[in-house]
C-alpha cells in the first residue's frame, strides 16, 4: 500500500516519456523535443536545489558536514577516477572493439557518470525509512558533489580539447586549484546572496505582497551569478537556501511564508516531473543510439562496484572519528541508493562532438545507466532494506512484555543519551549561536521578530503557578481527553505548544503511512501480526492497543524532507502529552515538598536572597522567587541556543508566591523552607536559585536545540495567548497582555 509510490511514479514518468517520445518520432521521424542542457541547468534544476536548500535541516546538516564533505569530494573523485580508469583498461584489452577514445575521454565520462544525483536520491529516501543521519549524509553528498563534478568535468573537457599530449603537470595543478576556487567561490556567492535576501526581507514589512518574489528572485540571482562567474551554481543556490532560511522565515509574514513554501514545493515537484519525462522523451532518438554491449555493461558494473568499495572504505575511516557509527545496513543503503540522474544526462548532452568523438556512445550509455539506477535500483531498494532488517530481527511474534519493556528500554536509552550529553554540547555550535544571536540576528531579523522572541521567553518565564494549577484542574475536570481536544484551543494557560513547534514540519509521506499502519515502517513483526489472526481476541486487542498507542522513542522520529508533502508533525501530539504529564507531576511533587515543610520563616534570609538576584519584577512578594519547576519549553525559539547567557533573564516569578490560596507570609515560609532544605545540602543560596533559573533556560535551550536537531524549520505562529491572570505580583512591564504580541507581529 503506497509502498514505492514515488519511485513507481518516477518509473512511470520515464516510461510515459518514452511513450511520448515514441509518438513524436513516429510522427515526425525526428526527435523534436529533447532535454537540452540549457533548459535543464537554467530552469529545471534551480528550483529543485533551492527547495532542498531552503528546507534543509540545518543542525543535522552542519553537524554531519565533515562526513558529507568526505563522501561528496573524495567519494566522487574516487568514483570518477576508478570508473574512468577501469573502462580505459578494459578498452585497452580490446573487448569494446574499435572506438575513437582516449584515456581522457574515459576520465571525462567517468566524472560525469560518477556523481550521485540529488533529484533521484531524494525520491529513494522518501520511501526507505532510514535514520536521519544516513539521510542527511546521502542527501548532502548529492548536493555538494556538484562542485566536484563540475570541476572534473570542466577540467577533463578542457584537457580533451587540448589534446592528450598537451596536458602538463601544471594543468593538473591548475585543475586542483580550480576545484577549490569553484566550490568555495560558489559557496561564498550563495552566502552573500543569503545575506542580501535576509536583509531585504527585514525591510519588507510594508510590501508584504511581494515578499515571496524576493525569495525566489534573489535565490535565482545567486544561481545565475555563480554560473556567470563559472563557479558552482548548485552550491551557490544551495547555500543561499541553507543560510537564509532562518532569517527569512523569521522576517516574512505568515502568508508569505506559506506562499513561499508551497510555491517552492510546486516548482520543485514540477521540475522533477518534467525532468524525468524529458528523460524518457529524449531517449527516443535513434540518431544518437550507439550500442556497445561491453561498454554499457561494464559501466554499470563498475559504477556499482566502485561505489560500494568507496562507501565501505570511507565509512571505515569515518567510523573512527564519528560519534554515531554507520553500520552495515547504512552502508548498503548508501551504496545502493547512489542513483544517477538527470544531471549526468545533461552533462553528457553538453559534450562537444567534435572534441569527444564518441559522444553518442556516451549519451546512450548514460541514458541506460540513469534508467537502470532509477528504475531498477530505485524500485528494489525498499524490498532490499526490508529483507535486511528482517534478517536481523527475529521472526517471532513479540509478547506483550517484550513489546512493553522493549519500548521502555528505548526510552531509557534516549534519556540516558540526553543526560550523558551525546547530543548537543558542541563548542563550535555554541560559539556560532552566540555570534548569531549577538550580531547576525540583530542585523538580519526584524526587530519585531527579535522582540517577540525575547518576549516569548519572558512569558514562559513568568508562567505562574496559578495558571499551571488552573490548567491542570481544567484538564482533570474535562477528563483525560481534554488534553487532546484542547490541543488546538489552548486557552487555559499561556503555554501554547502549537505555536512553538514547527508549524510546517516537512514530514515524509511514509511517516504518515507508518503511523497508520504500524509504529515502524519496516517493523515486519508488527505488520505480520496484523495480518495473522491471533487466537485470543482479547490478546489481539491488547496487542493492538499497545502497538498503536505506546509512545514512540526518539529514534523513530524521523521527519526530514519531502518534495511532495508539507505535513504537520504528528509527533508533536505525543510530545505535548508527555510534556503535560511530566510538568504536572513535577508540579505536584514540588507542591508536596513545599507543603510538607512548614518552618518558621526567616526574613533576613529572604532579603539576602533578593539582593543576590537581578529582578525586574516588583517586590510585592518580596521573598525568594523559587523558579517554577514547570517552565514551559520554549520551542518557539528558532534562534536556538540563544540562552547561553542566562544571567540577564529575570528570575522566574513562579507565582508560588503569588498564588492566592497561600498567603504571602505562608509562601514565604515555604519558599524559605525550600531554600533552607536545599541550602542544607548546598551552602550557596544564590546559586541554587541561579541553578533553577539556569536549568530553566538551559532546559529551554536544550529543548530548543533538540527540536531543531530533529526538525530545523519552523515558524512561530503568532502567540495565541489566553488571558493571563493578572496578579498583583506582576508589574505591568513584565506582563504582556496576550493579544498585544499578536498585534505587534502583524503590525510590523
Amino acid at each position: 500500500l503506497g509502498l514505492a509510490k514515488t519511485l513507481v511514479a518516477i518509473a512511470l514518468l520515464i516510461v510515459l516519456g518514452l511513450f511520448l517520445g515514441g509518438i513524436v518520432w513516429a510522427a515526425d521521424h525526428i526527435a523534436s523535443f529533447t532535454l537540452t542542457p540549457n533548459v535543464f541547468f537554467f530552469y529545471l534544476l534551480p528550483p529543485i536545489v533551492l527547495d532542498a536548500g531552503y528546507f534543509m535541516p540545518n543542525k543535522l546538516f552542519f553537524g554531519n558536514l565533515g562526513t558529507i564533505l568526505l563522501y561528496a569530494v573524495i567519494g566522487t573523485v574516487w568514483n570518477a577516477a576508478t570508473t574512468g580508469m577501469s573502462l580505459y583498461g578494459v578498452y585497452l584489452s580490446g573487448i569494446m572493439g574499435q572506438l575513437d577514445i582516449g584515456l581522457l575521454d574515459f576520465l571525462l565520462f567517468g566524472s560525469l557518470i560518477a556523481a550521485v544525483d540529488p533529484v533521484a536520491v531524494l525520491a529513494v529516501f522518501e520511501e526507505v525509512h532510514v535514520n536521519e543521519v544516513l539521510f542527511i549524509i546521502v542527501f548532502g553528498e548529492s548536493l555538494l558533489n556538484d562542485a566536484v563534478t563540475v570541476v572534473l568535468y570542466n577540467v577533463f573537457d578542457s584537457f580533451v580539447a587540448m589534446g592528450a599530449d598537451n596536458v602538463t603537470g601544471v594543468d593538473c595543478v591548475k585543475g586542483i586549484v580550480s576545484f577549490f576556487v569553484v566550490s568555495l567561490g560558489g559557496t561564498f556567492v550563495g552566502i552573500v546572496f543569503a545575506f542580501l535576501l535576509s536583509l531585504v526581507t527585514r525591510f519588507t514589512k510594508h510590501v508584504r505582497i511581494i515578499e515571496p518574489g524576493f525569495v525566489f528572485v534573489i535565490s535565482y540571482l545567486s544561481y545565475l551569478t555563480a554560473e556567470m562567474l563559472s563557479l558552482s551554481a548548485i552550491l551557490a543556490i544551495t547555500f543561499c537556501g541553507v543560510c537564509c532560511q532562518k532569517y527569512v522565515k523569521a522576517n516574512i509574514c505568515d502568508q508569505s511564508s506559506t506562499t513561499v513554501r508551497y510555491t517552492m514545493k510546486m516548482l520543485a515537484s514540477g521540475s522533477e516531473t518534467i525532468i524525468f519525462m524529458f528523460l524518457g522523451i529524449s531517449a527516443v532518438n535513434p540518431d544518437i543510439w550507439t550500442w556497445n554491449t561491453a561498454f554499457i555493461l561494464l559501466t554499470l558494473v563498475f559504477i556499482s562496484v566502485y561505489r560500494v568499495i568507496g562507501v565501505v572504505i570511507q565509512t571505515w575511516v569515518l567510523n573512527h572519528y564519528r560519534v554515531v557509527q554507520l553500520e552495515i545496513i547504512d552502508q548498503v543503503v548508501m551504496s545502493y541508493g547512489g542513483l544517477r540522474g538527470a544531471v549526468a544526462f545533461a552533462l553528457v548532452a553538453l559534450l562537444d562532438e567534435k572534441k569527444v568523438k564518441e559522444k553518442n556512445l556516451f549519451v546512450s550509455t548514460t541514458i541506460i545507466v540513469v534508467f537502470f539506477t532509477v528504475i531498477f535500483q530505485g524500485l528494489t531498494i525498499k524490498p532490499l532494506v526490508q529483507w535486511l532488517k528482517v534478517k536481523k530481527s527475529e521472526h517471532r511474534e513479540p509478547k506483550l512484555n517484550e513489546k512493553l519493556h522493549g519500548r521502555a528500554f528505548d526510552h531509557i536509552l534516549s534519556a540516558v543519551e540526553d543526560i550523558s550529553g551525546q547530543i548537543g554540547h558542541n563548542y563550535l555550535r555554541d560559539k556560532w549561536s552566540n555570534f548569531d544571536r549577538k550580531i547576525l540576528s540583530k542585523v538580519l531579523m526584524r526587530r519585531s521578530a527579535q522582540k517577540s522572541r525575547d518576549q516569548i521567553l519572558n512569558i514562559f518565564h513568568e508562567l505562574n503557578l496559578k495558571d499551571a494549577i488552573s490548567y491542570v484542574a481544567e484538564g482533570e475536570r474535562r477528563g483525560s481527553l481534554a488534553f487532546i481536544r484542547s490541543s488546538s484551543t489552548d486557552n487555559m494557560v499561556n503555554v501554547d505548544f502549537s505555536t512553538p513547534r514547527p508549524s510546517t514540519v516537512e514530514a515524509s509521506v511514509s511517516c504518515l503511512l507508518r503511523e497508520k499502519a504500524s509504529s515502524v515502517c519496516l517493523d515486519m513483526q508488527a505488520l505480520e501480526q496484523r495480518r495473522k489472526s491471533i487466537r485470543d481476541t482479547e490478546d489481539t486487542v491488547t496487542h493492538h492497543t499497545l502497538q498503536q498507542y505506546l509512545y514512540k522513542p526518539r529514534q523513530e522520529h524521523i521527519h526530514l524532507y519531502s518534495r511532495h508533502e508539507i505535513i504537520q508533525n504528528e509527533d508533536e501530539k505525543q510530545d505535548k502529552e508527555i510534556f503535560h504529564r511530566t510538568m504536572r507531576k513535577r508540579l505536584e511533587s514540588f507542591k508536596s515538598t513545599k507543603l510538607g515543610i512548614n518552618q518558621p520563616k526567616k526574613l533576613n534570609k529572604s532579603h539576602k536572597r533578593d539582593r543576590g538576584q537581578k529582578r525586574r519584577n516588583s517586590n510585592a512578594i518580596p521573598n525568594g522567587k523559587i523558579p517554577s519547576e514547570n517552565p514551559a519549553p520554549d520551542f518557539t525559539l528558532k534562534e536556538k541556543g540563544n540562552f547561553s547567557d542566562t544571567n540577564n533573564k529575570p528570575p522566574v516569578n513562579s507565582g508560588y508566591c503569588s498564588e492566592t490560596s497561600y498567603e504571602p507570609v505562608n509562601s514565604q515560609d515555604n519558599s524559605v523552607d525550600m531554600q533552607e532544605r536545599l541550602e542544607e545540602s548546598n551552602p550557596k543560596e544564590n546559586q541554587e536559585k541561579k541553578t533553577l533559573l539556569n536549568a530553566q533556560a538551559h532546559y529551554r535551550s536544550a529543548a530548543a536545540r533538540r527540536v531543531q536537531s530533529r526538525r530545523s524549520f519552523h515558524r512561530p505562529k503568532p502567540l495565541q495567548l489566553p488571558k493571563l491572570q493578572k496578579l498583583a505580583s506582576f508589574p505591568s512591564s513584565c506582563h504582556i497582555p496576550p493579544h498585544s504580541l499578536e498585534q505587534e507581529e502583524t503590525q510590523l
Partner: protein, 194 residues
C-alpha cells in the same frame, strides 16, 4: 557553556572510577565535562533541578523516573561518582569477554542493565512489580487515548504473561525471563560510552 576539556588529574578518584565502571579515561573525562556543564553553579553536585533542566527529558515518558534513578533514596544531590556509576550501566558490553569467575559482576552486564530497568519499574523497592506499579508505568508510556479500563486490562495481561509463580506480581527473575529474547545488551548500550 563551552566544552573545555578537563585534565584527567582534575577528576577526583579517577582510577577507582575507571576500575569500578570500566570506562576508559577518555570517557570519564568526557562525562566529567558533561557533569560540570550540567552543574551550572559548580557546586560539585547535581541536583534534580539540574537534570530536569535537560529539555528532552520532559518529553520522555520515563524521563523523571530516570532522573530519580540517579539519586539515592531520599537524597537530592548526586556527586560525580554516583552519576557515572549510573551511566556505567550503559556501557556497551564487550564481546568475547570470558566470564571470569571470582570477579564481581561488571556494571554493564546484562544482569545489571536489567536490574537498572527493574528498579525503574519497582518504585517502592520491594523487589516486585505490583499491578499498581505496572499500571503506573503503562500510564506513562501510553497515549492519552487509551482509557483506564483498557490500561487495567493491558496491565493484567502483561502480568499474567510474565508471572510464573502466580503471586500477581513480577519478581526480578520473572522480569528477566520475560525479556530474555530481547537484545538487552544492545538496546541498553550507548556506543559512545566505551
Amino acid at each position: 557553556m563551552g566544552c573545555q576539556s578537563s585534565h584527567p588529574s582534575a577528576i577526583p578518584e579517577l582510577d577507582e572510577i575507571m576500575l569500578e565502571t570500566g570506562f576508559s579515561q577518555a570517557s570519564v573525562v568526557r562525562l566529567y565535562d558533561r557533569f560540570q556543564a550540567l552543574d551550572k553553579e559548580q557546586k560539585g553536585y547535581l541536583s534534580k533541578y539540574d537534570l530536569q533542566g535537560i529539555g528532552e527529558l520532559a518529553v520522555n515518558p520515563l524521563g523523571d523516573r530516570i532522573i530519580n534513578a540517579f539519586f539515592k533514596e531520599g537524597e537530592d544531590l548526586t556527586d560525580f561518582r554516583s552519576f557515572i556509576r549510573v551511566l556505567a550501566h550503559f556501557r556497551p558490553v564487550e564481546e568475547g569477554k570470558s566470564n571470569e569467575t571470582g570477579r564481581p559482576e561488571p556494571m554493564n552486564s546484562r544482569l545489571r542493565k536489567l536490574q537498572f530497568a527493574f528498579q525503574l519499574y519497582d518504585q517502592d523497592s520491594d523487589g516486585k512489580i505490583s499491578r499498581d506499579e505496572m499500571l503506573q508505568v503503562l500510564r506513562l508510556m501510553v497515549g492519552i487515548q487509551v482509557t483506564d479500563e483498557q490500561l487495567v486490562c493491558i496491565a493484567e495481561r502483561t502480568i499474567q504473561e510474565a508471572d510464573q509463580d502466580g503471586d500477581g506480581a513480577i519478581s526480578f527473575e520473572e522480569f528477566a525471563t520475560s525479556v530474555e529474547k530481547l537484545n538487552v545488551e544492545q538496546r541498553m548500550s550507548l556506543r559512545l560510552l566505551k
